[in-house]
C-alpha cells in the first residue's frame, strides 16, 4: 500500500494542536513543516516563536525554537541570524504580534534586509485573548473591543501588512495568501517556499501574510468562516505577490 497522507517529519510525533476547531493555524503550521522536510532544513533551523495563538509552536514542530516576547520575534530572529548566518531562521507570528506591538521590529528587520523568513497569520483579531480589535480588523467589523464595529473615529484603519513590507528596500519577497480553498492552500505553500528560498539564496527578508479564519472569535462555523475570508477579507486584503527579487537580488 502506498501512503498518501502522513505527518511531516518536522512535526513532533505526539503533537496536540492547541488551536480551536476549524482554525487555519493548523494548516499553516503543516505547510511550514512540509517545506522544512522538502527543503531538508530540519537539522539547520532555528525558529523565533511569538506570543499569541501559536505560542506553543515549539510543541508542534520538531525543530529548535526560541521564544520571543510579544512582538519581538523579528528582533530575536535577527540576533539568531547575525550570530548564526549559516542557519535557516524564521518567525511564525500573528497579526497582533507582527503588525501591532511588534511592527517597529518587523518593519526594521525588513528594512535592514535581514536574511530571515517571517510568516504572519492574519485573522483580523487578537485570537488568544478572545477576539479583540487588532491591527487588521476590518472596517465595520465587530469585536469585543469594537462592539459597534470598527470606525475611523475611534480606531483608525486596518494595516495592509504585505504591501507595507514590500515597500522596504531589504525585502526580497512579500506576498499575501489565504487558506480558504485547496487552490489557495497550494498557492500559500508556493509563497512560503519562495519566502524560504530567498533566505537560502541570501537575497534578504522573505515574508508571507496568511489570511486565516478564526471561527471561534468570529462566532461562525468553519465553513462560514472560510466564506467570510473569501467575501470580506480577500476584497480588503487582496491576494498576490507584492515583491519578488528571486532573480534580481536585493544587494545587487
Amino acid at each position: 500500500m502506498q501512503a498518501v497522507f502522513s505527518t511531516p517529519k518536522s512535526m513532533k510525533e505526539d503533537f496536540k494542536f492547541t488551536f480551536c476547531p476549524g482554525c487555519d493555524h493548523g494548516i499553516a503550521v503543516r505547510l511550514v513543516a512540509e517545506l522544512i522536510d522538502e527543503l531538508n532544513l530540519k537539522e539547520n533551523t532555528i525558529c523565533s516563536t511569538c506570543v499569541g495563538c501559536s505560542v506553543f509552536l515549539y510543541d508542534f514542530l520538531n525543530i529548535d525554537c526560541v521564544e520571543a516576547p510579544h512582538g519581538r520575534a523579528c528582533a530575536s530572529a535577527t540576533g539568531v541570524k547575525r550570530t548564526n548566518p549559516e542557519k535557516f531562521v524564521f518567525t511564525y507570528q500573528g497579526d497582533g504580534d507582527f503588525a501591532s506591538i511588534g511592527f517597529a521590529e518587523s518593519m526594521h528587520t525588513a528594512i535592514r534586509g535581514e536574511n530571515i523568513s517571517a510568516i504572519c497569520i492574519n485573522n483580523t483579531t487578537f485570537g488568544m485573548t478572545g477576539g479583540q480589535l487588532g491591527p487588521t480588523t476590518l472596517m465595520g467589523q465587530v469585536t469585543t473591543t469594537s462592539p459597534f464595529g470598527r470606525n475611523k473615529e475611534y480606531y483608525g484603519y486596518p494595516v495592509k501588512i504585505a504591501e507595507q513590507i514590500a515597500l522596504c528596500d531589504g525585502t526580497a519577497f512579500s506576498a499575501r495568501v489565504a487558506l480558504d480553498t485547496i487552490p489557495h492552500i497550494n498557492q500559500a505553500k508556493q509563497a512560503l517556499k519562495k519566502a524560504f528560498e530567498v533566505q537560502l539564496k541570501g537575497l534578504g527578508f522573505g515574508f508571507v501574510e496568511i489570511l486565516s479564519s478564526c471561527p471561534t472569535n468570529w462566532h461562525m462555523t468553519p465553513e462560514e468562516a472560510h466564506e467570510w475570508v473569501k467575501n470580506s477579507m480577500i476584497p480588503e486584503f487582496p491576494l498576490g505577490t507584492f515583491k519578488d527579487l528571486t532573480e534580481v537580488g536585493v544587494n545587487k
Binding site: K12, K42, E43, N44, T45, I46, S48, T49, V55, F56, Y58, L61, N62, I63, D64, C65, V66, E67, A68, P69, R72, A75, S76, A77, T78, G79, V80, R82, T83, N84, K87, F88, A104, E105, H108, R112
Partner: protein
C-alpha cells in the same frame, strides 16, 4: 597590548574588553553617556569579522541579544538608564530562559529622560529589576576604568557560567573619564554551552528555550530552581572591598565610582582622628548582606554615600537589621559628592547634629 598600560576612556575600555572577552556581536542604540561603546565597536567588530547591529530601539537590541544568546553566542548590548528601562521585559524573559546576556548600563540621571550628567539612580532598576515576576540578575559595579575592563571580562564569564543575565552598572563619570588601565588577558576560561544552546535539531529532537509556564507545578519548581541557582551564585560570587574596617567605628559605604570619594574621605577623617573605614559592594547583586551583618554585629555604624535618594541605603539597613546605626549621605544626581561634603556630613552624623538622613543638596 595586553600588559601595556594605556590612557583610555571608560566607554572605550568596556568596548575593547568586550572584544577581548570574545563578544561575537554587539546590538545597540545610541544614548549619552555611553554612545562611544557602540561607536568603537562599529569600527572594530567588522575588522575582526564579528557582528555589529544598529538596532531600531533598545527594545529591539535586547531582544536581538536574547535571541543570539539562546544559540550560545557571546553577545552584549549597552545603554543608559531610561533606555535600559526599555530592556526590563526582555531581562525578565532572559532570566527565566536562562540565557547568558550581558548588558552595560552607563548611568545618567533620571527619572524619565533626566539628563546626561552622571548619577547612581539605577541601583534599584539593576538589582531589583523592572521586569515582571521573581528573577535575579547579577550586577557588577566598577569604580575605575581598570575595573570596567576587569568586570566586563567577568560579566561575560559569569553570564555563561550561570546562564544568567549580568548587568555591568557603570555611570557617566566612569564612561566619560580617561584613566590609565591595562587590558591584560581575559583571565576566564571558556564555558561549554553545548548542552543547552540552540544549534538546529541535528541528530536529535528539536528543543526550545522559553519562559512560558506549562503547568503550575512545573512553574513553581522552575522558580525555585532559579532561586536555588542564585543561592549558589551568592555563595560563590559575592564580592566586596573593605578598607580599614578592623578598628573602624564608622564605615563609609558606597558603590561604583563613589567608592573613590569615600576612600579619600576616609583618609581625611583618619587624619582628623575619626576611626573611619570603608565598605564597597562590588556585586550589588548578590549583595554582601552577610558581611555587612557581621560588621554591624561588631557595633560598627554605617554611612551610605550614594548619588540617588537612598537606594543602596535600604539594602544596607536590611543587612544591619538594627544592630547598629545606618545613615545616608546623598545627592540625587549631578556633581559627585565631594570629599569635603562627605567628610563634613560624616562629622555632622558623628556629632548627632543630623538624623539618619543627611542629604547634601
Amino acid at each position: 597590548m595586553s600588559s601595556e598600560k594605556v590612557l583610555i576612556k571608560g566607554n572605550y575600555a568596556i568596548a575593547q574588553a568586550a572584544i577581548n572577552a570574545g563578544c561575537q556581536c554587539y546590538f545597540g542604540y545610541p544614548i549619552t553617556p555611553q554612545t562611544e561603546i557602540g561607536e568603537y565597536l562599529s569600527a572594530e567588530m567588522p575588522k575582526l569579522g564579528r557582528g555589529y547591529v544598529s538596532a531600531e530601539s533598545e527594545l529591539a537590541a535586547i531582544n536581538m541579544v536574547v535571541g543570539a544568546a539562546a544559540t550560545g553566542a557571546k553577545v552584549m548590548t549597552s545603554s543608559s538608564s531610561c533606555a535600559v528601562a526599555l530592556m526590563q521585559e526582555a531581562l525578565s524573559y532572559a532570566c527565566s530562559d536562562e540565557v547568558p546576556v550581558v548588558v552595560v548600563n552607563v548611568m545618567r540621571a533620571g527619572p524619565g529622560l533626566g539628563y546626561v550628567y552622571p548619577a547612581q539612580g539605577d541601583y534599584n532598576q539593576a538589582v531589583y529589576g523592572g521586569g515582571n515576576g521573581d528573577y535575579k540578575i547579577i550586577v557588577l559595579a566598577p569604580a575605575t576604568v581598570q575595573e570596567c575592563i576587569d568586570y566586563t571580562y567577568k560579566a561575560f564569564y559569569l553570564a555563561r557560567k550561570y546562564r544568567n543575565p549580568v548587568i555591568l552598572l557603570a555611570d557617566g563619570l566612569l564612561g566619560q573619564m580617561m584613566e590609565p588601565a591595562c587590558f591584560g588577558e581575559n583571565p576566564y576560561p571558556e564555558v561549554d554551552v553545548s548542552s543547552w544552546a540552540l544549534t538546529g535539531a541535528k541528530g536529535r529532537d528539536g528543543k526550545a528555550i522559553y519562559s512560558c509556564a506549562r503547568d503550575e507545578k512545573a512553574h513553581i519548581q522552575k522558580i525555585h530552581d532559579l532561586f536555588k541557582k542564585f543561592e549558589i551564585i551568592t555563595e560563590n560570587e559575592t564580592s566586596y572591598e573593605e578598607f580599614e574596617t578592623e578598628d573602624a567605628e564608622i564605615i563609609l559605604t558606597a558603590f561604583g565610582s563613589m567608592t573613590r570619594n569615600i576612600k579619600a574621605a576616609i583618609r581625611v577623617l583618619r587624619e582628623k582622628g575619626v576611626k573611619a573605614g570603608g565598605f564597597r559592594p562590588i556585586t550589588l547583586s548578590p549583595f554582601p548582606t552577610k558581611r555587612i551583618s557581621e560588621l554591624a554585629a561588631d557595633g560598627k555604624d554605617f554611612v551610605v554615600v550614594e548619588m540617588n535618594m537612598g537606594q543602596m541605603f535600604k539594602d544596607v539597613k536590611y543587612a544591619v537589621e538594627g544592630k547598629s546605626n545606618v545613615s545616608l549621605v546623598n545627592r540625587p544626581c549631578g556633581e559627585w559628592l565631594s570629599v569635603e561634603e562627605i567628610v563634613s556630613s560624616v562629622e555632622k552624623i558623628l556629632n548627632k547634629k543630623e538624623g539618619a538622613y543627611a542629604s547634601c543638596i
